[in-house]
């Protein structure tokens, strides 16, 4: 099993709400498969994704990626996990503003020590970014920025790609384009995809759908 989330609970200590954001959540994902996580705004989708990405800590339960449990893992080991095994795409694109498109594309792979120039140039071409490599993020459109973010994440050849509403900031046409590219490239790279979305149309493109409501999986 590539990803296994077992009875994970999470409560924000500084939140005025006393109830847990995630309550006894369990989910599994096989290598090379994809799952869509849907749910209302505030239902805890991003929280779950951040826990899987080892960006935050859970209160109880266990998450393991490719057999490695995140429980009790040091900050350094968690960081290494993000550098190589797991890659992220956010709704806000979150490219590095001071680096060019080209630099952004290769950044993650270089950090993870997995620079494969051929793969990056394939990605650049497939994502239609060839003419934009010298631009800075602020000089390209939102759809283009998100394509760069996808390229950056896949360049590292992660086992698991986590995407948090990757098309949430894009208009409908651009959104479909980006989704199409994402699905194709996932196929090519052989990565598993864990995608958060509130659109059932997008969710239906993935192999499996799960729904989060008030912190519990339905």
């Amino acid at each position: 099993m590539l990803l296994s989330v077992r009875s994970v609970s999470k409560r924000y200590s500084d939140s005025p709400e006393t109830r847990a954001v995630l309550c006894d959540v369990s989910v599994e994902l096989k290598a090379g498969t994809s799952v869509a996580l849907t749910g209302e705004s505030g239902s805890g989708k991003s929280t779950l994704l951040n826990l899987i990405a080892a960006l935050d800590h859970y209160d109880s339960g266990d998450i393991s990626i490719d057999g490695t449990s995140l429980t009790g893992l040091s900050d350094k080991a968690r960081s290494m996990m993000r550098r190589t095994e797991v890659a992220l795409v956010f709704q806000q694109f979150n490219l590095i503003p001071s680096l060019t498109v080209e630099q952004n594309l290769s950044l993650h792979a270089r950090l993870g020590g997995r620079l494969d120039l051929e793969w990056i140039s394939t990605l650049t071409q497939r994502l239609g970014l060839s003419d934009l490599v010298d631009r800075y993020p602020e000089q390209i459109s939102g759809g283009q920025q998100q394509r760069v973010a996808i390229g950056r994440a896949l360049a590292v050849r992660p086992k698991l790609l986590l995407a948090d509403e990757p098309t949430g900031n894009l208009d409908e046409t651009t959104s479909s384009e980006v989704m199409k590219l994402l699905m194709e490239l996932i196929q090519t790279s052989g990565a598993s995809l864990f995608l958060v979305t509130h659109s059932s149309r997008i969710a239906s493109q993935l192999e499996r759908q799960i729904h989060l409501s008030e912190g519990s999986l339905q």
Partner: protein, 799 residues
């Protein structure tokens, strides 16, 4: 409405207390440094004016000789022609414990001076024997042990370091027989009298409004003012940064307020009132700090002025209303200057767009170019001014152009260097670090400018002072080539001493001199006997081939550099020491630290022109290890009231102490300026903190730990400080060159060789690193301990 909006505006500072603190502290420090210097200067000026009034010299025109002194006969002739004049003899009276300013006056004709109208003094001068000397109790110590003095009267109404006496006594003590230094013109109406210019064509009429102090003291004050101004400017960098940020961060608020019906002008008025409030508060704090600082520095300044320039500054630091007003004015002016740019951009930029940090980074490029062009223009202008004009002020203009111009060039240079570094970087992380530094540049460039200027000033002034010190030391070793100097009180003792020394086989060289005055400049003329000591050791700068032969034949003279520059006399020129005493300048020697003119002629030449030159000082040549024994013997065999022997190692140590004290003030200002620059970095990093997180969070999400990011933050600050230091080095050396070769010549009359002190540079680099680490430590610490949820907020959708 007004009140509510003002409250809303001000609430920004409650949310960002550090920003407010930076603004207030920056402005307060700037005001403090500036007003401290002003306080010192005005105190000194007041003290000069007081001294001048005490001596009865203020408000009256003075006749000074074109060269040499004024013969008594000229004075008598002018009196006969109906002019009311008061004669004055003035000179430096060198005593074993330092020199004093000896002023001889005619008590009957001298204008009323507070020193003389003082009840007891008046009685003494008029009713009892006039043969007394008057001095301040603090001066008394210098006269201790001087035998055969007229009775001394102590009075508080004289400045310290001044001895006032009857003209006849002064004549004897200074060996100025029949020669007057100047004549005070007692009436300003001259109807019916033959004009002075006709009666005495070789006397110059100096107006009462002329400078009361010497050029040297003036230039010292100018130096201080320049330093104060520089520190003020460095402080303003902080103000500019925080005001700009305060406006930028409130753009949202402004938009809301505008939407609620506030006009642009109303908004500007509100913002201005806020700034005025801040400026007055910070200015007030700055004044208090400045007052304390001035109080702490004043003793050193007065010992400097006293030790080197012969001016005395006395009295407690007084709180003058004019000083308070000008300090507050400066705070307001500085705030206006520093916030002008922010306000201009406020008017220009459409209020409805919120420019992000990123776009600032990229539009900055053209801004850098404009700044660089302006900067180059300033440097070139300064250079041209230097070529076209001369004078001290132009020297300072060149300095200002250089400093400001280089500061403006800095951002472009830094951005280019960072681009190159980014290209050369091998790792992904280091590439990001350089790129990120470049992106951050608009936010930190002001602080970097401040740091570079502070470092350059430190290097420049440090190089000047150390070069000066080294040269001074070398010069002292040459000039004080005798191991012991002995002075006695009269000629019998002198011959007794010479015999005594002869019997012990100790070589003694007589040191004889006369104080004269030429063109109103006091000059000391030495008579030297031919000896290898002169030929080998004298620190000659420029000379004719036959220098020493010319001197000892009696036709030539050596003059010190100050005199050479002041009178523009160089080897081959003729120097008139008095109307009938002329010599040819055969050489010029360096005489650092001495504000007065000196001439060296052969002893026979001196004796021929001033026959009664006393023979009371001798330089003894002997091996260093025999010095203590001989000193002891001298003390045993001679009465201590008759003889004064000085070990030159002692003199050298004392001179060096005076020298070092002179530069305590500049050293202190230097360090303070560096501190201000460090503070500027801290404030800029702190104010950038909020914009910083969105840039760091994505990198963290890609698998760079918070601890790593914190270290990078520290390294980044260190790298910037190093860059600033490296760029400051050439600027500092240029600054040193200007100070040594231009400013010094204009202000002090001597040019100094420049020495390099790489160890000092390393020490400064260390200080810059410390400043950078301290400044970055807090943000880095915060970053290392930040909660993941805070970083995750950056990715939250509801932003």
């Amino acid at each position: 409405m007004k009140r509510a909006t003002f409250g809303a505006l001000i609430s920004h500072w409650q949310k960002h207390p550090l920003q407010l603190l930076a603004l207030v502290v920056g402005l307060a420090i700037a005001t403090a440094l500036w007003s401290a210097v002003q306080a010192i200067n005005s105190e000194a000026r007041a003290s000069y004016a007081r001294a001048s009034a005490q001596l009865g010299f203020s408000g009256l025109d003075v006749l000074i000789p074109e060269n040499g002194t004024i013969p008594v006969t000229s004075y008598v002739n002018l009196r006969r022609a109906g002019w009311k004049l008061a004669p004055v003899i003035e000179g430096r009276w060198r005593l074993p414990k330092g020199s004093v300013r000896l002023i001889g006056i005619d008590p009957l004709s001298h204008p009323s001076a507070s020193a003389l109208t003082d009840a007891t003094t008046f009685k003494l001068v008029n009713l009892t024997s006039p043969l007394q000397i008057f001095l301040h109790p603090n001066t008394k110590e210098k006269l201790d042990g001087i035998p055969d003095l007229p009775p001394i009267t102590l009075t508080d109404s004289l400045p310290t370091g001044v001895v006032l006496t009857d003209i006849s006594i002064a004549e004897q003590l200074l060996t100025h027989h029949g020669q007057l230094s100047r004549l005070i013109v007692l009436q300003n109406k001259s109807i019916g009298l033959t004009p002075l210019a006709v009666l005495a064509p070789n006397l110059i009429l100096q107006s009462a409004n002329g400078s009361q102090t010497g050029r040297l003291a003036d230039s010292f004050h100018l130096n201080l003012t320049a330093f104060g101004f520089l520190s003020f400017a460095v402080g303003l960098f902080i103000v500019q940064g925080t005001v700009g940020l305060g406006i930028e961060q409130r753009r949202n608020l402004f938009r809301t307020l505008r939407a609620m019906g506030l006009s642009l002008n109303q908004l500007v008025v509100l913002l201005l009132s806020e700034l005025v409030l801040v400026a007055l508060t910070a200015g007030g704090i700055g004044l208090i700090l400045g007052y304390l600082l001035a109080g702490a520095l004043l003793p050193d300044v007065s010992s400097t002025l006293n030790g080197i320039y012969g001016e005395s500054v006395e009295g407690e630091l007084a709180l003058r209303p004019s000083w308070v007003l000008s300090g507050l004015g400066m705070a307001l002016f500085g705030t206006a200057l520093a916030s002008g740019h922010a306000f201009a951009s406020f008017y220009k930029m459409p209020i409805l767009t919120i420019p992000g940090f990123q776009s600032r980074a990229h539009t900055a490029g053209t801004g850098y170019k404009m700044m660089a062009i302006t900067g180059s223009g300033l440097i070139v202008t300064g250079g041209i001014a230097m070529v076209l004009f001369d004078g001290l002020l132009v020297g300072f203009a060149l300095l200002a152009g250089l400093m400001l111009g280089s500061a403006l060039l800095l951002p472009l240079l830094l951005s280019k260097i960072l681009t190159i570094a980014e290209k050369a970087a091998s790792g992904a992380l280091s590439e990001w670090v350089w790129a990120d530094m470049r992106a951050q540049l608009p936010g930190v460039s002001l602080a970097m400018m401040a740091l570079m200027l502070a470092l350059a000033t430190n290097i420049g002034v440090g190089t000047m002072v150390s070069s000066f010190r080294l040269t001074f030391l070398g010069w002292m070793n040459q000039r004080f080539s005798s191991e012991i100097y002995v002075s006695v009180n009269n000629d019998e003792q002198a011959s007794e001493l010479v015999n005594w020394l002869d019997s012990r086989g100790v070589t003694s060289l007589p040191i004889r001199w006369a104080e004269i005055s030429s063109m109103g400049i006091p000059i000391r003329v030495y008579g030297a006997m031919d000896h290898s000591r002169y030929r080998k050791n004298w620190p000659v700068l420029q000379a004719v081939e036959t220098l020493w032969d010319d001197v000892f034949i009696g036709s030539g003279a050596l003059i010190n550099e100050q005199l050479a520059r002041r009178l523009n006399l160089w080897p081959g020129d003729e120097l008139a020491l008095s109307t009938d005493w002329k010599v040819t300048v055969s050489g010029v020697y360096s005489d650092y630290g001495n504000p007065h003119g000196q001439v060296l002629v052969s002893l026979s030449n001196l004796l021929h022109n001033v026959p009664d030159v006393p023979n009371r000082q001798f330089g003894l040549k002997l091996p260093l290890k025999e010095v203590p024994a001989l000193m002891k013997e001298l003390q045993e065999d001679f009465d201590s009231r008759d003889i004064l022997a000085i070990d030159t190692t002692d003199i050298k140590a004392r001179s060096l102490a005076v020298f070092d004290r002179t530069f305590i003030v500049t050293g202190a200002l230097n360090l303070l300026t560096l501190g201000v620059a460090g503070f500027a970095i801290l404030t800029s990093l702190l104010t950038l903190w909020n914009i910083r997180l969105p840039q760091l969070a994505p990198i963290w999400a890609l698998g760079v730990t918070r601890r790593q990011l914190a270290w990078l933050e520290l390294l980044r600050s260190l790298a910037l400080a190093t860059l600033a230091a490296v760029l400051a080095l050439p600027l500092g050396l240029l600054l040193a060159w200007v100070l040594l070769s231009i400013i010094n010549v204009e202000a002090f009359g001597w040019k100094l060789p420049m020495f390099l002190f790489p160890m000092d540079w390393l020490r400064l680099l260390g200080l810059a690193w410390i400043a950078a680490i301290i400044a970055a430590a807090f943000p880095a610490f915060k970053l290392a301990r930040i909660k993941p949820s805070e970083l995750l907020e950056v990715f939250a959708h509801e932003r």
